[in-house]
């Protein structure tokens, strides 16, 4: 009985490093990881290669080094755009983060009434294309705008007061106003989270030490929201620096990088200069991204202990100030969006103010009309569906498996960097990467296996998924981190394959996050212009692009109507999301914590 077989004896020899047997299940995980990495390589990293290469070549494709950049910076017209973009981004960031900080603080830390409503209104601009916000500004402050004309001369006629006021919208004023509307909800979202994370114990300690409210604000509130502030600044700066929609509509002669790229590529077919400016567009956002990552890594160390949520206390004066402040901002948002909706129904602004639906009949304007709208709906649906699938599987394999650590870290890195890529850069990079029938690498022509995607729905969907990958990925990762990491261990001990546990446990537990990601992808694909404006084909027009074309052609009312349609689709998506999550919560009430 105790005699050992020869085989067993050889097994008893001590051996070196242990290499685990690779099972079929492990191969499946590897395959999944490879697919995710492959997707991210093709979607994020590889398209940047020809973009950089183009910026270093002449129009014939010969390598010229930094010549294009030298040319750019020695052309005063172009350099001024760079400075303009920086100015716009800085001003917008200061205003948006400052205003949103107060707004978030008022909602999180005071007892003013109507918090839910204020919250909803602050988020409203997220459901509108930035173009629509700019069009709203045009109807208010443009040459024939409501304010510019003093309510169409109403005050002049009735009261004899010259209450007309021209803010000189077209140019820097209009751009900053528009970007402010566009960035405000983004900053608000981030700061709201930061403000809600406050630890009541710190405030109690500060009060016990008899610190004045002002001192408490400096010593406790601000440091506590530090990382939220850094994040908000990063997001706003990137958005305002790279946005295309607002300057396109209200920029006038005030050039910025984003509109320059559009003019170079679409207007002059100068791809080399387009690539060069794209890299310049990428540089500041890249730097902002790195700073933000470093800051967020620090935060991990701070947020270890569990904090006690803060309950605001009523305070007459502060609550009143907060209410007035939030009401003013909310009113501003509602008025701009209201102007778009109203204008889309007005017969001839500002002469015949009767209401009509004729602007919704797009047959006599360019842009693609209802077909473009339907295309956008489908594109957004596909982006949501395929996007959430890829994002969630990617986050799952990175977070919950132990397969190939270096490759998983690489996949994580790729998942995080897409947020630093402005839509315009994605669009141009995709042209260079997907359009050629073959790539020339070191003198060799290699057939492009992805060329078939060019001009199809697929490339639009791909661009959207990549454009909005990082935020979706972080939502998925956060949800997965909240699931006990030992579920995989327990399942393995019961010899249940990982995919069964994924389907039976992990996915059901993550459904709210899945719904949130799908909603986020749908809404953003619906409103975005920058990535898709270079990629749509004449057979496949899009609603947001149609707004650009209608506005260019002077059909502003039609552009307003299309904006309203987009806003409606986004709000419906949001409504569906709310209902779904509500149903989910009701169905799963029994097993969630009592």
């Amino acid at each position: 009985m105790t005699m050992r077989t020869a085989e067993e004896r050889t097994l008893l020899l001590p051996h070196g490093r242990v290499r685990p047997v690779v099972t079929a299940e492990e191969w499946l995980r590897r395959l999944l990881l490879l697919l995710v990495v492959g997707f991210l390589l093709v979607g994020v990293l590889l398209p940047l290669v020809p973009l950089v290469a183009r910026s270093l070549s002449d129009p014939e494709g010969r390598f010229v080094g930094p010549e294009n950049y030298v040319r750019y910076f020695s052309s005063p017209g172009l350099v001024s755009s760079f400075v303009n973009s920086l100015t716009i981004a800085t001003a917008t960031t200061l205003l948006a983060v400052g205003l949103a900080f107060g707004y978030a603080w008022a909602i999180a830390r005071t007892c003013m009434p109507g918090k839910g409503l204020f919250r909803a209104i602050a988020l409203l601009p997220l459901f509108a294309p930035p173009l629509a916000l700019a069009i709203g500004l045009v109807y208010l402050f443009g040459n024939k705008g409501l304010v510019t004309t003093g309510f169409f001369g109403f005050f002049e006629r009735t009261l004899g007061l010259p209450l007309a006021y021209n803010i000189h919208l077209y140019g820097i004023n209009g751009i900053i106003l528009g970007e402010l509307l566009y960035c405000f909800p983004q900053a608000f979202l981030i700061l709201m989270v930061a403000a809600s994370l406050a630890d009541a114990r710190l405030y109690e300690a500060s009060m016990a030490l008899k610190a004045s409210p002002l001192r408490t604000f400096w010593v406790v509130t601000l440091p506590g929201m530090r990382y939220g502030l850094i994040s908000a600044i990063f997001v706003c700066f990137t958005l305002a620096f790279t946005d295309f929609g607002v300057p396109k509509v209200v920029g006038g002669n005030f050039n910025v990088l984003a509109t320059d790229i559009y003019k170079q590529v679409i207007g002059q077919q100068n791809f080399v200069m387009g690539a060069t400016i794209s890299i310049l567009l990428l540089a500041p956002t890249g730097i902002a991204f790195v700073i933000d990552r470093i800051a967020q890594r620090r935060q991990m160390a701070v947020l270890t202990s569990r904090s006690v949520p803060l309950r605001p206390r009523p305070h007459r004066l502060i609550d009143t100030i907060a209410l007035v402040y939030c009401s003013l901002i909310a009113a501003a948002i509602l008025i701009v969006i209201g102007a778009v909706v109203y204008a889309s129904f007005v017969d001839v602004w500002p002469y015949r103010l009767g209401l009509t639906l004729r602007h919704y009949d797009f047959r006599h304007v360019g842009g693609g009309g209802w077909a473009a709208y339907t295309n956008s709906l489908w594109m957004s649906f596909y982006s949501a569906f395929f996007g959430v699938t890829i994002v969630f599987l990617g986050a799952y394999i990175i977070e919950k498996s132990r397969t190939w650590p270096p490759l998983r870290h690489f996949a994580y890195f790729l998942s995080m960097i897409s947020v630093a890529l402005p839509g315009l850069v994605i669009g141009i990079a995709y042209i260079f990467f997907f359009n050629p029938k073959s790539w020339t690498i070191a003198g060799f022509a290699i057939p492009n296996p992805f060329a078939f995607l060019y001009g199809t729905m697929a490339i639009l969907v791909l661009a959207n998924i990549v454009h909005f990958y990082t935020v979706s990925f972080m939502t998925a990762t956060t949800a997965l981190k909240q699931i006990d990491s030992e579920f995989e261990s327990v399942s393995a001990s019961m010899r249940v394959p990982f995919y069964r546990t994924f389907a039976r446990i992990t996915l059901p537990l993550s459904l709210p996050a899945v719904a949130e990601i799908a909603m986020y992808l749908f809404v953003n694909s619906m409103v975005t212009v920058s990535a898709v404006i270079f990629l749509y084909s004449p057979q496949l027009r899009l609603a947001s692009v149609a707004i650009v074309h209608m506005d260019e052609a002077g059909d502003t009312a039609a552009a307003a109507a299309m904006s309203v349609l987009i806003i409606a689709a986004c709000l419906i998506a949001r409504l569906v999301y709310t209902v779904v999550v509500h149903q989910l919560n009701r169905r799963t009430q029994a097993w969630r914590l009592p």
Binding site: F487, S489, S493, R500
Partner: protein
């Protein structure tokens, strides 16, 4: 034919995480049906070792044989074990019954058979009638019982438990201790449990493996470890221990001095040169307070520092000086039964003679360089 082969053999297991060495040269045999404890302070590598045994973590080098089969390179899904975690790790969206049946369903057994097995397991852990509940609707102790039933569902040859009781409150913990031991005996399953609670290990284990800094320091039955700790670390970690700095005396084999007092240690064989420094060790409950200083051997004359009421006994903190001008006197803890206190003057500052029986004293040689 000799002893049956061990159920589980660990041979020279090493584990590194980057530069940190988590486990160093772990070799260990576990007999079939044995209840083995891995005991040690936080971060000593207990969990890592358990996960390596389970195949959830691979060792850097070494070898594991389970039931005569080399499983070193096999992943967890190809081994034979059930596991219980401190966090319970119950699937929150499945009922108690579905949690327990999770592995059974995957085996494609007939429905009726699964249901019968689930009922049997529920009875086993005393949770009949709760099968339709969700984990969130159970108390911590009940949840851990479900986790136990789930781990036993596939009748594994090896049951692994990683601090299963440490998230529970004291009373529930005490109950579950007894139940887990009884269950393990009844099923005859080989079990390995991780703990940093020495009391838990002493009451539940057949054998205890004491670990420190990724190494095994001592293996033995609870009583053996308690009575004959191999090192001062074990002595201190398992139970309480007084350490008295001493010198080898020239007055005969087994006689030591600590300050002015001579202590004889029974069974001390080692011949150290007189004057060598050693550490004498004695447990608080083994020390006895004398009524008066009789001048007999093995008595230390001490002074009372404090007296604490502990319920069943008093905890006396005493000290004595080795020289009159010693800055830091040697401290000593004595456990005194409640009824015994009435015979003594235990006010702070009172002089108390303490008897350290020769058969209760242990001697640890100081490692070279540790002498101060």
């Amino acid at each position: 034919m000799g002893d049956p082969p061990p159920y589980l053999q660990l041979q020279q297991i090493h584990k590194r995480f980057g530069k940190t060495v988590a486990l160093e040269n772990i070799s260990l045999d576990v007999q079939a049906g044995e209840f083995l404890f891995l005991l040690g302070p936080s971060g000593c590598g207990k969990t890592t070792l358990l996960r390596i045994i389970a195949g959830l973590e691979e060792p850097t080098s070494g070898r594991i044989v389970q039931a005569g089969r080399d499983v070193t390179r096999l992943p967890a899904s190809h081994r034979d074990f059930g596991i219980v975690f401190q966090s319970y790790a119950l699937f929150p969206n499945l009922t108690v019954a579905d949690n327990i049946a999770y592995g059974l369903k995957n085996q494609k057994l007939p429905k009726a058979q699964i249901a019968a097995r689930v009922q049997e397991l529920l009875r086993l852990v005393g949770l009949q009638g709760l099968d339709r509940r969700y984990p969130a609707q159970l108390s911590g102790g009940q949840q851990q019982r479900v986790a136990l039933a789930r781990a036993l569902a596939l009748s594994p040859g090896l049951l692994l438990l990683d601090e299963p009781l440490s998230a529970l409150d004291a009373r529930v913990r005490a109950n579950l201790r007894g139940e887990i031991t009884a269950l393990q005996r009844r099923l005859g399953v080989t079990a390995i449990m991780v703990s940093h609670d020495q009391e838990e290990a002493l009451t539940m284990a057949d054998r205890i493996v004491v670990m420190d800094h990724g190494r095994i320091v001592q293996i033995g039955a609870p009583l053996e470890i308690y009575q004959h700790p191999a090192t001062p670390f074990v002595a201190d970690f398992v139970g309480q221990m007084n350490f008295l700095p001493g010198l080898v005396s020239g007055e005969g084999v087994g006689v030591f001095r600590t300050g002015p007092f001579a202590l004889r240690v029974q069974g001390w064989q080692n011949h150290l040169p007189p004057g060598s420094e050693v550490m004498l060790a004695v447990r608080p409950e083994e020390l006895r307070i004398e009524r008066e200083h009789t001048g007999l051997g093995n008595v230390l004359l001490t002074e009372v520092r404090s007296v604490e009421f502990m319920g069943p006994h008093y905890r006396l903190l005493l000290h004595y000086r080795r020289h009159n001008d010693e800055q830091q006197p040697v401290s000593l803890i004595v456990h005194l039964p409640r009824h015994a206190t009435m015979h003594h003057d235990l006010r702070v500052g009172a002089a108390v003679p303490v008897h350290a029986p020769a058969d209760a004293l242990r001697v640890f040689r100081l490692p070279p360089g540790a002498a101060s």
